[in-house]
Amino acid sequence: MNARVVDSIIRKDVFEFSRNRFLVFITILVLVVWVVVFWLLPSNVDETVRIGVVHTGLDPLLAGLQGDDSVGVGLEAYSTEDELRAAVEEGRDDIVAGIAFPADFLDATAAGETPTVQLLVPAGLSSEQRLLLSGIVTETAYAIAGTAPPVDPTTEAIILGTDRIGAQIALQDQMRPLVLVLVLMVETFALASLVAIEVQERTVVAVLATPARVNDFLAAKGIFGTALAFIEVTLLGLLIGAFAVNAPVIIVTLLLGAVLVTGFGLFSGAFGRDFLGTLFIAFFFMIPLMIPAMGALFPGSTATWIKVLPTYGLVEALVGVTVDGESWAEVTPVLLLLAAWGAGAFVVGAYALRRRVATL
């Protein structure tokens, strides 16, 4: 490989990229949009469930309930059932449901009767949440009657994993890995476009009629694509505070991610016959590659098939470090997985481009 030739091709690619208004626009747009969207997202989680209540003589009891932080229930008082009903229907005051105690609730309870308490729930409320509200009503009734529930088992919560009570993951934090991966994916298209133009215009044929070899060409494209993706995602990372925890691991992760998307960019560029063809192939890869990042938004067990997607290691490492504060040792297995996928994608992409160039 000839370093001088590789350097010349990279400089030319940078120059061409800077002259391509569409690619520059897309690159800047994606950066700006995601930074703005990121900072508009909620940065904390309100763990309190707000419930509207029509109260008639229950004020001291309800006040006590509101003051208990561990309950996680916030009560919003309404003077009439109609007001509460309207608030639930219109989703006002952030209440998820309403409880309308009848005016004779205290008297009926004291007399040993069974009053009917109305639960006002929006149509979309799940059956589990309705059950929870029923429980609150029952608890309240026992408290008012001054009697203990017939059964009061002692419960002990065993937290598997990180206890997030009081420290829930904000949407902003959940979105951070997704945003980083998304921007890497967009650079797949940018590189693919530049490669496709070189192939379609057959300028690569002219380059290879000089002392430049096809390996020089492939190396230049690989370095340029990796650098382009890495610089942009690093810039984005700085702007959304992705390096606050364990920055070296994040940098290595993003670099491996840049290598991975470069491989896909080379492949897409090699087979794109025109702009739309390149766009189609790039999106063909981008959609499945985004799935692990989407999955990170919905914590829980990961389906096995998602674990075999090339970006799984990338997302796992980013989530592990930025959300859970994991160390080198903890993310090394997924980083190795990512490195293997990156190397594989790069080799396949370079091979595809080499084959394509040979047919020109």
Binding site: K12, F15, R202, A206, L208, P211
Partner: protein
């Protein structure tokens, strides 16, 4: 005897089952222009691609500047200039930037792009993007790019195809200058006039085979028909005699024809390369 700059021996190449080049042999000396004349699909561009190293011959050998292609491809390409049939220029870059990029690939220090662009008549537009160039301007830039490394070998694939007469003349002048400097030039074309006016020798190629190689004059003399057409007044009308110069006694017949009273015009006619090509190939150069 000096070693030819290009020595091609019995090369073959097939696209699948289609034999595109079938045992082609020729040589080109330093300072010589060899015109590769044939219709579209005859195998001219495939031969050029084997010489540039884009394709590897299935059989035969290619020696250029005493080196083997593709074995010593890098050393050969450092001394080779290629003008491709397709206008494969970087459209988003200016004419000057295109040449400077290729000068870097050839590792040419102190490259003067402006001077080279002046030679091809693009000096005034050298800082315009190539996307704004006309077809003729792009072709002239292609030619300039082929000269970036002051090559000893020039491979020109249809360098004037589709150009306006002014641009075509400018490019032909450049080709002559380069041959005058000592470069060996292989010129593929299906334009018989271009081949005739530029080439020291012409090779006819058809269906992947070289049918004949010689100087244009010798090809025309050997295989064409030379005639003298004499027109004179005859009463109220015009008499015309066509005398074939290759027949016996033709000189006497010409003398008799021009000695008549009322001589009007004398035309000499010779065969064109196309006529000769038709004799060899059984078809014309078009298509």
């Amino acid at each position: 005897m000096t070693t030819p700059a290009i020595d091609v021996s019995d090369i073959e190449f097939s696209y699948g089952d289609v034999r595109a080049v079938d045992g082609v042999s020729f040589t080109v000396g330093a300072g010589e222009i060899l015109g590769f004349l044939g219709p579209n699909g005859a195998g001219k561009s495939t031969t050029i691609k084997m010489l540039t190293g884009q394709l590897q011959p299935g059989a035969g050998s290619i020696e250029m500047l005493g080196m083997n292609m593709p074995g010593e491809r890098e050393q050969i390409q450092a001394r080779m200039g290629v003008c491709f049939e397709e206008k494969n220029l970087y459209l988003s870059m200016t004419g000057r930037e295109n040449l400077q990029f290729f000068a870097k690939l050839f590792d040419i220090k102190d490259f003067d792009a402006a001077e080279l662009l002046r030679r091809v008549g693009l000096h005034a537009r050298m800082d315009d993007r190539v996307s704004e160039y006309s077809k003729g301007m792009r072709q002239r830039l292609m030619m300039a790019r082929a000269l970036v490394n002051t090559p000893d070998l020039l491979l020109l694939d249809e360098p004037t195809d589709g150009l306006d007469p002014v641009s075509a003349i400018a490019i032909r002048d450049l080709i002559r200058e380069e041959a005058g400097r000592g470069a060996a030039v292989l010129l593929t074309t299906h334009d018989m006039h271009e081949a005739d006016s530029l080439s020291n020798r012409v090779a006819f190629i058809n269906q992947g085979q070289v049918l004949a190689i010689d100087t244009p004059d010798d090809l025309k003399l050997e295989h064409g028909e030379r005639t003298v057409r004499v027109r004179s007044r005859a009463g109220d009308g015009v008499a015309e005699q066509v005398i074939a110069l290759d027949e016996q006694g033709s000189a006497d017949r010409v003398r008799e024809a021009v000695a008549v009273d009322g001589l009007m015009t004398i035309h000499t006619e010779e065969a064109t390369l196309e006529d000769v090509f038709v004799k060899y190939a059984g078809r014309g150069l078009a298509g």
